[in-house]
């Protein structure tokens, strides 16, 4: 069965090694065709049709397709079209694709995995007849091309033996698709049928629009220097040498959101990122790419410009004002290492959502695509469907960026739907934030418990029966996924018994099942304003796991004995059956507590909890826990259209904080327990102490207002924030806390074995150790923690991956990524709804200046939780009012009116819909009044707001830096119920 062949490989590892590996060639690799009677493959593995039909004018006979590597790499979008079937993917191709691009590899695997597509993987490298050795002097690419041809020839010969009914005596043909002319010629010479993808696809009769998806990779290399817009990139060898001898620095490129001609490269070599500016400096790098940078001489170093600059529609090839726009005179202190990008090490292109730019030329196939993400440049695409697509949100992929082209070249992938349509917009923001949101597959659903679900006596035997105890849950109104409930009862010795009962999700989601894998991949439930994207199917999230009132449910309980002054005597964990006596809202619970006439058990329980919670909170704050702030709003959504009708700020009640305190306590207790039992693989959450420079903006802002912010420790920061109050500006403290929030690092999950104990610290909570245990319905981390805890107390078995710290860490990476994306998506959703809200409105609102920039003011409007840039200098034309920027104390002066940070202003909000493709929220200054600049308030003027030049771009999620941002705060500081739940209730309106 085995034959063996060895081949030699040389690798460099300091010195040259000769690596000899075994390579077994087999007889039992089958062709995978249903027509074949020679191969003894199982029927499941016979993927390819016996009568392959595809409407093709040129190749109107039954055939299979064989692809070469570049076809897969470049034309994956075409391959994803259902029309292409019966394709043979060779091992050689898969290996090369995997090596070259992991994303395309993943997509290819998805296509192969789709049974309807009939893609068969032929392991030609291990087939005894199709394996070939590399010949003397043959390059690897040539060898692989030859291997592909050999395999195709094998197929041709093999299939000849099995004539199909349709093409009598001829057998199924094989067509080699390759865009490499040389390869095609060689193939034809050896008797194969070969075609380029473009030729082949154009012959297909029932595949409309597929031509748009063809990648436009331009191979022309001879460009005269005159035509080139960009300097040429160095060759990979040059880059490699350059990096090795230190002339070049490798790093990841991060484009600036505010200025399309600026970006930075994060490197390991420098603490600060390297600044890159200008078209030539950026040299075709796209956000995320790994690039090679050459540092400029120190004399040419600059600082990031204070200017907000966007690539306007007016295509201006000259770019005369480009340099002007960049900052000229820079203070020495602020100078940063500046460089220019000379080569791309690795592209990190993905698919981008966006819209087509209006094209005045009717019928032109060449169009410009504007991505939704401002960090991505516009993309030039060719499409014949302009009329259809111009009003749609579409997805586009980049193919190449030649030196002569101002924009990268790309191709159309698919359309999402009409612009402005809420479904489409939601789809866009889910896609842009990589949120998995497809329906749960049947396979996943098959692991759900069968209904009707009943509690069996066996279940009861393994659980503590707490059905007799008065347990209640407190949540926002309309919450359907109730994952926590509480109880509190006095004990005979005068202490309290307090229990936190968490939905026992891990009972239903068993490790290793498709359901588990799906939940692990989704990692979190994503809350949009009008939609909830569940992590687990609804049956679990809203029914079986949800601790609804007066229903018997499984719970994981954490029960403490606590003294009256909130000292924990002991803690125990067990699985239980509970029956919540009441599912209340915060308001209801608050009313019960406040209503002294009510003295039933629930009321007593709540009051006990409340008093303990107050002590706990005080103690926590004394320990240095931070109370941060972010503008939080809630939309009142129309029940029919799901359009927002009104906006309100969230209210905080005592009960919010009550629930929060006990969730924190439970989380900390569980974290201690699982760490003790599993010192290597406990899943914990940490919040790193921010590096001191992070606080600079906060300290500066405080100092300008006459407050010293002490950031030497969490406790000091908390205290100095508490002291900073201004009587004339009640919102000042909140704004300061908003700023503080932005200085924070991101709280992250990690496996305990990967870090030192000191690094477990949670800065925001001032807790030495922390984890997530209390929301397993909507967070996967909690499920893992549940499993760990269950294993600790012997209630459940462990399994391999649970005890593997590498696996846990991998899982944490995914959780962190998904959480971040979920937050961005949530914020983008708020922004989207703000746009919808302002569609037909013009409103005056109170706002505060958050930052003062050189040409703009950053304004925060608490009522809507918005933050946006207000340009003081119009992008085009003459400034209408003369503002003077004072860098010293961060102010803008116009006449005798001065704007400082934290100053209150009144602004007028309206939506600029003049450009269908990109709606913008526009803002005009109302108060204080500046001549030729401000506008009268709405009441006085219903004039044309759109015409105003000083517009403000409302784009909350994107203007925030990627540090601890408003809704991240939940995790860092309050870590709980209240805020997340306020999101949940949005679902209720549906």
């Amino acid at each position: 069965m085995l034959t063996s062949k060895t081949f030699l490989r040389k690798t460099k590892k300091g010195n040259i090694l000769k690596i000899v590996r075994e390579h077994y060639l087999r007889e039992d690799i089958w062709c995978g065709s249903k027509v074949c009677s020679e191969c003894c493959a199982k029927t499941d593995d016979q993927v390819l049709d016996e009568n392959p039909t595809i409407a093709c004018t040129k190749h109107n006979y039954g055939h299979y397709l064989v692809l070469d590597t570049n076809v897969v790499l470049d034309q994956i979008d075409v391959l994803e079209e259902d029309v292409l079937k019966n394709v043979i993917i060779l091992q050689t191709v898969i290996d090369e694709v995997k090596h070259r691009s992991s994303t395309i590899y993943k997509r290819l695997k998805d296509v192969i995995g789709d049974g309807r597509r009939k893609f068969y993987v032929f392991v030609n490298e291990h087939h005894q007849d199709t394996y070939i050795e590399r010949e003397q002097g043959e390059s690897i690419n040539d060898r692989n091309d030859r291997a592909i041809r050999t395999a195709a020839l094998w197929y041709q010969k093999h299939l000849k033996a099995f004539p199909t009914q349709k093409d009598k005596r001829k057998g199924i043909k094989v067509i080699l698709l390759t865009d490499d002319r040389k390869n095609r010629e060689e193939a034809i010479k050896s008797g194969l049928i070969a075609s380029s993808v473009e030729d082949y696809v154009e012959q297909l009769t029932d595949a409309k629009g597929i031509g748009d998806k063809l990648s436009k990779r331009n191979f022309t290399s001879d460009i005269s220097e005159k035509d080139a817009t960009y300097p040429s990139h160095l060759t990979p060898a040059q880059i490699h040498d350059g990096i090795k001898n230190g002339q070049l620095i490798q790093g990841s490129f991060q484009a600036s959101r505010e200025n399309y001609l600026e970006g930075q490269v994060n490197t390991e070599k420098f603490e600060k990122p390297i600044l890159v500016q200008g078209r030539a400096g950026l040299n075709r790098a796209i956000d995320g790419d790994t690039v090679a940078v050459e540092l400029l001489p120190e004399a040419e170093w600059t600082a990031p410009s204070d200017i907000v600059l966007q690539d306007d529609e007016t295509a201006d090839p000259e770019e005369l004002n480009e340099k002007e726009n960049l900052i000229k005179e820079v203070k020495v202190v602020e100078k940063r290492p500046t460089g220019k990008i000379v080569g791309i090490v690795r592209r990190k292109w993905r698919q981008y959502c966006g819209i087509l730019q209006a094209n005045p030329m009717v019928g032109s196939v060449r169009n410009i695509f504007v991505p939704a993400d401002r960090k991505i440049p516009k993309i030039r695409i060719e499409t014949r469907q302009y009329e259809l697509l111009v009003s749609q949100r579409i997805i586009v992929a980049i193919d190449s960026w030649p030196r002569t082209s101002r924009y990268p070249l790309g191709h159309f992938v698919r359309a999402l739907g009409k612009i402005g349509d809420k479904e489409t917009e939601n789809e866009v923001l889910l896609l842009e934030h990589d949120v998995p949101h497809s329906k749960f597959s049947d396979l996943v659903l098959s692991f759900l418990p069968k209904m009707p679900w009943i509690i069996t006596p066996e279940d009861l035997k393994q659980r503590v029966d707490l059905r007799g105890i008065d347990i209640c849950s407190v949540d926002p109104p309309g919450c359907t996924d109730i994952d926590d409930a509480l109880h509190c009862r006095p004990l005979e010795n005068g202490n309290y018994e307090v229990g936190v009962h968490i939905a026992d999700v891990s009972h239903f989601i068993r490790p290793g099942t498709a359901l588990d894998n799906e939940a692990a991949s989704r990692a979190t439930t994503v809350y949009l304003v009008d939609k909830r994207i569940d992590m687990v199917p609804e049956l679990l999230s809203s029914n079986l796991c949800s601790l609804r009132g007066n229903e018997e449910r499984f719970a994981f309980s954490c029960v403490w004995e606590i003294t009256k002054d909130a000292k924990i005597i002991h803690t125990k964990f067990h699985k239980s059956v509970i029956c919540s006596k009441a599912a209340m809202t915060y308001e209801e619970a608050q009313n019960i507590i406040d209503d002294k006439s009510q003295n039933h058990s629930i009321a007593v329980s709540l009051r006990g909890l409340n008093s303990l919670a107050k002590i706990l909170k005080r103690r926590r704050i004394e320990n240095g826990a931070l109370v941060l702030a972010s503008p939080e709003i809630r939309f009142q959504v129309d029940s029919e259209t799901h359009d927002p009708i009104d906006v309100e700020a969230k209210k905080m009640r005592e009960t919010n904080s009550m629930v929060e305190e006990f969730m924190l306590l439970a989380n900390i207790s569980v974290a201690e327990k699982i760490l003790q039992e599993f010192p290597e693989c406990a899943l914990l959450r940490r919040h790193p102490v921010p590096p001191l420079p992070n606080f600079d903006p906060l300290i500066k802002a405080g100092r300008n207002q006459g407050f010293e912010i002490d950031v030497s420790s969490g406790k000091a920061l908390a205290d100095s924030l508490d002291r900073a109050h201004k009587s004339d500006n009640p919102y000042f403290n909140t704004m300061l806390r908003i700023l503080a929030t932005r200085c924070m690092m991101q709280a992250v999950y990690f496996a305990s074995g990967m870090l030192q104990q000191e690094e477990f610290f949670h800065y925001g909570l001032a807790a030495p150790i922390y984890t997530h245990f209390t929301s397993p319905i909507r967070r996967y981390a909690d499920i893992i923690v549940h499993r760990l805890l269950a294993a600790c107390i012997g209630a459940d078995k462990t399994y391999g991956d649970l005890l593997n710290k590498q696996k846990t860490q991998e899982c944490c990476h995914n959780l962190n990524y998904r959480n971040r994306m979920a937050q961005y998506a949530g914020r983008a959703s708020v922004a989207l709804h703000t746009h919808l809200f302002f569609r037909n409105k013009i409103q005056d609102e109170e706002g505060y200046v958050l930052f003062v920039r050189k040409n703009a003011l950053q304004i925060l409007i608490p009522k809507y939780g918005l933050e946006g840039t207000l340009y003081l200098v119009p992008a085009t034309g003459q400034p209408t009012a003369n503002f003077v920027y004072n860098e010293e104390d961060q102010s803008q002066r116009c006449g005798n009116i001065v704007f400082h940070a934290f100053d209150p202003v009144t602004v007028q909000l309206s939506l600029d819909r003049s450009n269908v493709q990109h709606e913008k929220l526009v803002l005009k200054m109302v108060k204080p009044f500046i001549k030729d600049f401000s506008v009268p308030s709405v009441q006085a003027n219903t004039g044309d707001a759109v015409a105003s030049d000083d517009k403000m771009d409302l784009d909350v999620p994107q203007t925030l830096p990627e540090v601890e941002t408003p809704s991240k705060r939940k995790e860092s500081e309050t870590e709980t119920a209240q805020s997340k739940k306020s999101k949940k209730k949005k679902k209720s309106k549906n």
Partner: protein, 247 residues
Amino acid sequence: MDLISDQGLRVDGRRAGELRRIRCKLGVYDQPDGSAYLEQGHTKVLAAVYGPHQIRGSRTKALQDSVVINCQYSMATFSTGERKKRPRGDRRSTEMTMLLKQAVSAVIKAELYPRSQIDVFLEVLQADGGNYCACVNAATLALIDAGIPLREYVVACTASLANGKVPLVDISHLEETMGGPNLTVAALPLSGQIAVMEMSQRFHIDHLEEVTQLALQGCRDIYKILDKAVKEHLLETGDFFPQLESN
């Protein structure tokens, strides 16, 4: 890189339950009482057995009711990708020596040779994963060649777990380094007893059983190959046996 592809093939083209090619030869040397050479894939080892013989050196080592088994594991300096500094004496070799002794002690009928000594020398000529297994298998052959009474063969095999679920047998060096826990079992294939079991990292209890079973199956497969080689070796020596009978 995946240890096992979607098509069920491993990096070198084997399926999950397939062994590498095993080639072996008994009686490769005249000087020792028994010797053998064995290749398992690219792992190549030589084994030589001396004895049973009078205990050399200190007589106090002698056991009154059993034989003294002396093992030595060494790796040729050229056996690995990077040249090794010294062939034996490092921690890993010492451990290997100990485990080898444990494996061969399990089968040698030691009670037959009180106060004697048996030396088993193993030299890895090329290391490509499963060195220990190849050594145990070669040692068995050399012991048989030396005519030393054995309870039965002792055969060793490795197994691992790919992608956390697919058990693999007979792990090559590449697969060893690519990760995954690694289980080595030395077993008596006929009776199914396990002489030595060693894990490179922790296995989860859920997987241990199936991985062990696969390793044992590997041992049985290797046993068949070795047994065939022994019989062929006996036959190759011409009509020596018929002559004996007529003797």
